[in-house]
Every structure is written in C-alpha cells, then in structure tokens.
C-alpha cells in the first residue's frame, strides 16, 4: 500500500507539471492583431502560432522564471521573462524591424550600385554594360543626374562643382590621383578596373561626416570581399590586352590583374585630330590580397600604372602647333582591416599611400611633378540597438608635392608644399520608427598648412510618405583646401567652403525607380588670383564665391517591357561663380544648363545577346569671345552623342563585345580658342575645340578559364 502510494505520488509529480496555461494577444504598435507570430517558451517545446485575431494559448509543464519569445517576420523579436504563473492574459506589442527592406532610407544625394543596398539605382553589371562607358566606372556614373557633360575631360563634374571637388575612396580610404592623365582633347578614365569592386556609392551632396576635403561629391568604391573561385581571365581588345588570375586558399585569396594598352594601331587605322609622334601607351598591374581572420577581414590592394604619349597639337597662336609630351608613373597602395570587437562594437583601420610622378614637356617648358600622399583612418562603430548606432573616428592626410620647372630662358627652379591635415568625426543613425530616420554628424578638421580649424555639421532626415515613397532632407557644410595647382605657388590661404541644402523624393516600385531632387549650394572663400594663369607672381586671396542650384530627375524601369531595361536622367543646373581670375560673377565653362541621358539595354534570349544604347544631350557651355564685350559671353552649340554596343555570349566562358561611341558621327564642339593678339583688322582669330576623335570603335574578346569551367562571362555582360 505504501509503495503504491509512492508510485502514485511520483506519477502525480510527472503529470502535475503540465498544468499551466499561457495565453495572450499579439499586436503591432498600432494595435493591429498579428496573425502567424511564433510564440514559445525559450529552450522548451512549448509554444504555438497566433490566430487571425492575434490570440495564442498553450499549455506548459515548466515552472519558475522562463522567457517567452515572440517572433515574426519583419518585426523585432520580443522577449519577456516572468514567472510562468504570470504569463497569462498577456497583451504583447511587436515593434517593426527597422532592418526590413521596406524601412525608410536616408537617400538624399546618394546613388548606390550593388546588391547590398536597399536603394540601389544601378546594378553591378551596369558599370560595364552602359554603351557610352566603355568599361569605365566614371563613364557609367556620368549617365546619372547631377553630373555635367564636359566631354573633353572625362572626370566627374558634379552640380556646378569642378572635377577636383569630387573625391574618390576605395574601401573608405582616399585615392589621391584617381585619373589617368590624357591630352587636353581626350577624356580621361578612372585608373581602376571595375571588376574589382562590388559596391559603388556615388553621392552628389549632403554626405556623411566620415568624408571630408570634397566640396561637391564623394565616390565610394568597395573591393570584393571574397572571390567565388579560382580562375584566369584573358582579354584581347582592339586597343590592347589584359590578363587576370585569382587564386583561393582556405581563408585567403589573391587576385592579380595586368593590362597593356597601345593606341598606335588604332590611330594608324582611324587617324584623329592630333598629330601623334608616339600615341598613348600604358600598362597597369593590380593585386588584391584578402585574409579572413576569426573576427575580421584584412584587405591589401595595390596598383601600379604607367602611361606616356608624345604629340603635336594644333594651336591658334602657333602655326606649327604645340609639342606635348607626357610620362606618368603612379603607385597606389591601400590596406584596411575591418573586424568585430564583440558587444556590438566593430573597428575599422586603414592606410593608403600614393606615389605619382608626371613629366610634361610643353614646347620648351619641362615640368616634373612628384606627389607623395598618405591617408590613415581609424574608426569605431557601436550598435546600441537596430534603432540607434554611432560611428566615430579620426584620420590624417599627408600630401607632399614638389614641382621642378626648367626652360631655356629660366634657371631651373623647384618648389612645393606639404599639406597635412588631421580630422575627427562622429555620427549617429537614429530610427525613430520604420518611417522616420535621422543621421546627424559633426566633422572637425585642422589644417597644419593654414593653421586653420574648421567644423562641419551634417544632417539628414528621411520620412516615409507611403509604402513605396519617401522624402529626405539633407544639410551640410563642406571644406576643402585649394588644389595642388594653387598651393604650389601660394600657401598663405584658407580652406574653401560650401553649404548644401537638398530635398529629395523617391518612389520605389518593383522594378521601377523615380527620384527627384532639388538642391542649393552656397560656395564661400573660393580662391581668386589676379593674373591670366595661376603663377608665382599672382596675388591670391580667399574672397571668391559661387552658387549652384537645380533639379535632378531620374527614372529607371526594367519591368514594363520584357527584356528591356532603361533609365533616363535629366538635370537642370543654374550656377555662377566668381573665382580664379574671373572679373565678374559668371557661369563657368564646365556648366551645362540642361543635361539629359537615356540608357537602354535589350536582351535577346535567342541570340544570347545584349544590345545597349546610350544617348546624351547637353546644352551649350560658355566661352569668352574677345571680339565682343564681356566675359564668358557666348555659348557653344549643344552636345549630342549616341553610342551603341553589342555583347554576344559565344559560350558561358567566352564573350565578344563591340561598341561604337557617337555612332552618328555628330561633330561636337567643346569650345573655342582665340588668338592672343588681334589681326590687322582688330579681329581675334579663332579655332574650334573639337574632341580628338568624333567616334570611337571598340572590339574585345574576353575568355574566362576556371578549373571546372563553371564561372562565366555572364558576369561581364
């Protein structure tokens, strides 16, 4: 009897444990019931799913303090620790997860390319498939609104700013000399291969406090973190050849890439307006090494490039033309480490070194430039929650510039400067809800050269106006030291300044994006000098000023017509400047009032071909006609260019690529050059400045060899 009782007692203990009922109701913050939320006791089997009214109820044999977990897609997981007996009639509210795809994004001023961004305007492939870009990432960005068409230059001119006002960063570290030097009637290209990057962010204003020394714009390029597999890439082009190889190990990888370009055969076939003695030739080598550690990633990137040309260019003042010879060598190294420190802290440290040597011979003048620059950066990131994050750090820039000049009539002279600058920044990201976000930051810079301290506040705010649309505002102050061409002659100056005011509207439909942005830029303390060219004898001051205002529109649609993807950009720009040697405030010659780009890509499945087309229109640019009164008193005719390309996949590993820039052969005009002195009639003779070549043809064959024949050229399409 006693034993039976004991057994009974034991059994009772076992069954008695499944008595408690846990129940309640789950809603969102607006008291709407959530159906299908997963509700359970952490670490046990006990739990259920909420019904259509958000109600749940289940039994448990657990006792004491337990954690109730409520999880649902696109909401933050809720944890509630209480005694089991208190877990009934619960009223639970889930907060929306601000990491979800439909959360508001701070988008004022920013265009991103890549698949990791919620607001990507361009896809990674676009950089290489835009007809007019010819594989240059800068060329692809020139089809976006906010850029102006300065066809003979090729660099990025953003919203009434000069090309030097845009800074380029690789993995967050500054690139000091991003462009290949060219003759003054041939557009330059970005130095770096677009295939090394998997994320591009192009900001046309109002950017983060992390970035400084750029008055107008920043372009952020991120190198690929982990290559997919080992492979060899071979490219044979009408203008040269390239070879690349990627090797992978357990936790590290190395990619090397070399290319050689020689324009001599091309120029022999299609002569251009230059009288070449030695057409452009150049070679480059790039290597990226990546090492994964337990908690982080180390990347080492280095690039070496050389280029040279020798030619005679037509000039109105010299009937025999101007002899122009150039030699350039450029070395760039960039190393960075990104890692997690635990406890929601992460760290980033990076360093870059640039060595650039250029030798120019222009008629009797010999000019040799040497630049040694460094950039070091350290930053910390802390995530308090998904809704509140901070980012702060410090950086140091060193630029050491020297120029040697000689001429048969002047003794050799050399001069230069050191432009060292330290900076600190702090910024926080706050999500008040899924619909309202704020980014606020402050940047402080100290220039050793000017002994000047500057403070730049930055602020952006984004508000979601509907499920698919949002409005953003941005404001910021930006400082930049004058460029090398001024600093080499005069160092007793101050930093130049702009303030940006941006209002942005964005509508994201599936497969369709519309953006409209209005901006106003206020420039102060621009450099002025009192001679025709910046020189030793000029008097310099910081009294210049300018404004730029306008509207940028962008529309992309890859959905309406099957296999057709297209985008249209339009920019209206109104800008006047009083800087350099301007006698009055005037619209500079790199400003077009109207800019329009249309890019289309059409895929024909049966032909395994993509046909691309890009059209660009830009209204005329200003120039000074000395035969009339006034300064920058005339405008050139407008610029038009239509480019087409065809990419044909012979097999998954082989691609044939053909492209023609300015297929209609439109004779564009970049400006006019006038004689220094008038002729006997008091008339200044003129010469039309045209591009070196109206058209450009390109044929390339690219072949990827991977161990298993698996990787393919589809990526390069």
């Amino acid at each position: 009897m006693k034993q039976t009782f004991l057994i009974f007692f034991y059994l009772l203990t076992l069954s008695a444990t499944s008595q408690t009922i846990i129940n309640g109701n789950v809603t969102d913050t607006k008291n709407q019931p959530i159906e299908g939320a997963n509700v359970y006791l952490d670490g046990t089997y006990d739990g259920t799913t909420t019904d259509e009214n958000g109600n749940f109820s289940f039994k448990t044999s657990e006792t004491g303090f337990k954690t109730l977990k409520v999880s649902f897609l696109a909401f933050e997981t809720l944890l509630l620790t209480k005694d089991i007996s208190e877990l009934n009639n619960l009223q639970l509210k889930l907060r929306e997860d601000v990491n979800a795809l439909d959360t508001v994004v701070i988008s004022a001023g920013t265009f991103s390319a890549g698949d990791n961004s919620k607001i990507s305007v361009l896809k990674p492939l676009d950089v290489v498939t835009t007809a007019s870009a010819l594989g240059d990432f800068v060329g692809a960005l020139q089809t976006l609104p906010g850029t102006t068409t300065v066809a003979e230059d090729g660099r990025l001119f953003v919203r009434g700013g000069e090309a030097e006002e845009t800074q380029i960063f690789i993995d967050g570290i500054r690139v000091f000399t991003p462009y290949v030097p060219t003759t003054n009637n041939t557009p330059t290209r970005g130095r770096y291969s677009p295939f090394l990057f998997d994320g591009i962010t192009f900001s046309t204003g109002g950017y983060s406090a992390e970035f400084g020394q750029a008055l107008s714009s920043v372009l952020l390029l991120n190198t690929i973190e982990e290559p997919d597999q080992e492979k060899t890439d071979i490219g044979i082009m009408s203008v040269g050849a390239s070879l690349g190889h990627t090797e992978k190990w357990e936790s590290s990888s190395l990619s090397v890439n070399g290319s050689y370009i020689n324009l001599a055969p091309y120029v022999a076939l299609f002569p251009d307006r230059n009288d070449w003695i030695k057409p452009f030739q150049g070679g480059s080598g790039e290597a990226v090494f990546r090492q994964k550690t337990n908690t982080g990633l180390l990347k080492l990137y280095s690039a070496f490039e050389f280029g040279s040309f020798d030619l005679i260019q037509e000039d109105i003042n010299f009937s025999e033309g101007i002899h122009n010879k150039m030699n350039n060598q450029n070395l760039y190294f960039n190393g960075s480490y990104k890692g997690s420190l635990g406890g929601n802290w992460s760290v980033f440290g990076g360093l870059s070194y640039t060595y650039n040597k250029s030798e120019f011979e222009v008629m009797d003048d010999n000019i040799a430039d040497k630049e040694n620059s460094y950039h070091a950066k350290f930053k910390l990131h802390h995530r308090f929650s998904n809704r509140f994050k901070i980012n702060f750090g410090a950086e140091y820039f060193v630029t050491n510039f020297n120029e040697a000049y000689d001429n048969p009539f002047i003794n050799d002279i050399s001069y230069g400067f050191k432009n060292n600058l330290s900076a600190a920044f702090a910024e926080s990201d706050v999500f008040f809800s899924k619909n309202l976000a704020l980014k606020a930051g402050l940047r402080m810079e100290y220039s050793e050269l000017f002994e000047q301290l500057t403070l730049s506040p930055r602020l952006s705010l984004a508000y979601k106006t509907s499920a698919k649309s949002q409005v953003s505002l941005a404001y910021g102050n930006f400082f930049q030291n004058p460029n090398n061409n001024i600093l080499k002659f005069e160092q007793d100056l101050n930093a130049q300044k702009t303030a940006h005011y941006i209002l942005n509207y964005q509508l994201n439909n599936d497969g369709q994006i519309f953006r409209a942005e209005a901006f106003y830029k206020d420039y102060k303390h621009l450099i002025k000098y009192d001679t025709e060219y910046a020189d030793f004898n000029s008097n310099y001051n910081n009294s210049g000023s300018a404004y730029a205002t306008g509207i940028d529109l962008f529309w992309r649609d890859s959905k309406s017509i099957k296999n057709l993807d297209y985008w249209v950009s339009y920019s209206f720009l109104d800008s006047e400047r009083d800087y350099n040697n301007y006698p009055i405030e005037a619209t500079p010659n790199f400003v077009n009032t109207h800019n329009l780009s249309l890019v289309t890509k059409y895929w024909i499945e049966n032909w395994r071909s993509q046909f691309g087309m890009s059209y660009s229109f830009a209204s005329g640019r200003t120039y000074t006609n000395p035969n009339m009164a006034g300064f920058l008193n005339q405008k050139t005719k407008s610029y038009n260019s239509l480019s087409v390309n065809w990419a044909y996949l012979i097999s998954p590993q082989k691609i044939l690529y053909l492209s023609v820039n300015n297929v209609l052969g439109i004779k564009n005009v970049n400006g006019y050059q006038y004689a220094d002195t008038p002729d006997s009639n008091g008339n200044y003779a003129s010469r039309t400045l045209r591009p070196a070549a109206d058209q450009f043809f390109f044929v390339g064959f690219f072949w990827t060899i991977s161990e298993k024949g698996t990787d393919n050229q589809l990526k390069n399409l």
Binding site: T44, K69, L125, P652, T710
Partner: protein, 209 residues
C-alpha cells in the same frame, strides 16, 4: 522499502522523463513534417521552436531554413516579403552551420537559398551569387561525392545554366540519373536526417527526355 528500491524507482522515472523528451523531439519533428504540406510557415515556426529546445542538433534549424527557402520560390515577385523570409532562413542556416561545420547538406541548402535570390532578380544577384552557388556545390561534392542531394542539385543548377546558353544538357542529365541511383541506396544517418530529392530528380529526368 529499501534505499536501493527508491534509487531504482527514481532512476526509472528520470529515464521515463528522458524518454518523454526523446519522444517530444520525435513528435515535434513528425508534427512539423506533417504541417509542412499544408502550412510551410507554421512548420518552419515549429522547427524554430524545436531548434530552441535542441541547441546541439543541426536538423531543426536546417529544416526551419528549408521550409522558408522552398516557400520562397513561390513568392519571387514580392521583393520585401521574400527578402525578410530569406534573411530569416539565412539566420537558421548560420545556426545550423555553427552546430555542424563542413556539412555538405547545409552547403546544398545555402546554395538553394542563393538560387532563390538569383531566380527573383537575375540582373541584380546573378553577378555576385552565381559563382558562390557553384563554389558551394563544388565544395560539397569534394566532401561528399556520393551524396545524392549534392549530385542532384549541382546538376539541376548546371542544367539551368546550359539551357540559358542553349547548350547540351545531356552530361548533366547523366548526373541526375546517377543521383537517382544514389537515392536508391542512400541511408539517412538518423531518423530525421535529410532524405529528400528523389521526386525532384524524377521530375528533372522527365524534362531531360
């Protein structure tokens, strides 16, 4: 009653309790598999609860991910819902990988997750993910060359690529046949270890002919 008897009784009860938890796992898993056919999302939630209760077993998070991934193929056009779902599936796969490293079954599942992204927007994800998918299959094949799911899914992916380029799919169809033979002799490691894929292989073979 002696102390020994007490001890035996307590041991027996503890054993029963342990048995109960064993069956609780089996019951839970069985219930989740049954639910899968009618309500994959609820099935995933049940796998999620089991994963929470069984922190050392890679199977519950693996299936919690699989339910979401396969369901993802049915909502390729609802971008934001799909991304939320795949993010959650990715978290489960990360949990499974943390429990069981270098596991070819998990690699196959990771490759399938990427395949959903590629299927939803080829232009956006094709460039970055195609290579990763192939690399995962290659790695899984090196570890388990005779795992029928590795052979099948790799071939399935390669057939897709070959069709796209208008190339011959026959060599890959042979792989599917081989996978089917491997399915015939395949013995799962445990009761709930992955054993799926045979029907898919038969379906693909039909298209091959």
């Amino acid at each position: 009653m002696t102390i020994l008897k007490h001890f035996i009784l307590i041991a027996a009860i503890l054993f029963t309790a342990n048995m109960q938890s064993q069956t609780q796992y089996e019951q839970g898993m069985q219930k989740a598999f049954d639910l899968w056919e009618t309500n994959p999302i609820e099935a995933s939630q049940l796998f999620e609860r089991i994963a929470n209760a069984e922190p050392d077993n890679w199977l519950p998070p693996y299936y919690a991910a699989e339910t979401l991934i396969l369901n993802g193929f049915t909502k390729l056009n609802d971008k934001s819902a799909l991304e939320a779902q795949l993010n959650k599936a990715q978290n489960f796969l990360n949990d499974a990988t943390a429990i069981s490293k270098e596991n070819p079954e998990i690699m196959v599942m990771q490759a399938l997750l990427y395949t959903v992204y590629v299927a939803s927007d080829g232009a956006k994800y094709g460039m970055t993910l195609s290579g990763k998918v192939m690399a995962l299959y290659t790695k899984a094949e090196a570890i388990a060359p005779n795992n029928p799911r590795v052979v099948l899914n790799k071939a399935d992916w390669e057939i897709g690529g070959a069709r796209y380029f208008g190339q011959d799919t026959q060599p890959f169809c042979k792989d599917v046949e081989r996978a089917l033979e491997l399915f015939a002799t395949f013995k799962p490691e445990s009761k709930f270890a992955p054993s799926w894929g045979k029907e898919r292989a038969e379906e693909i073979l039909k298209d091959c002919k």
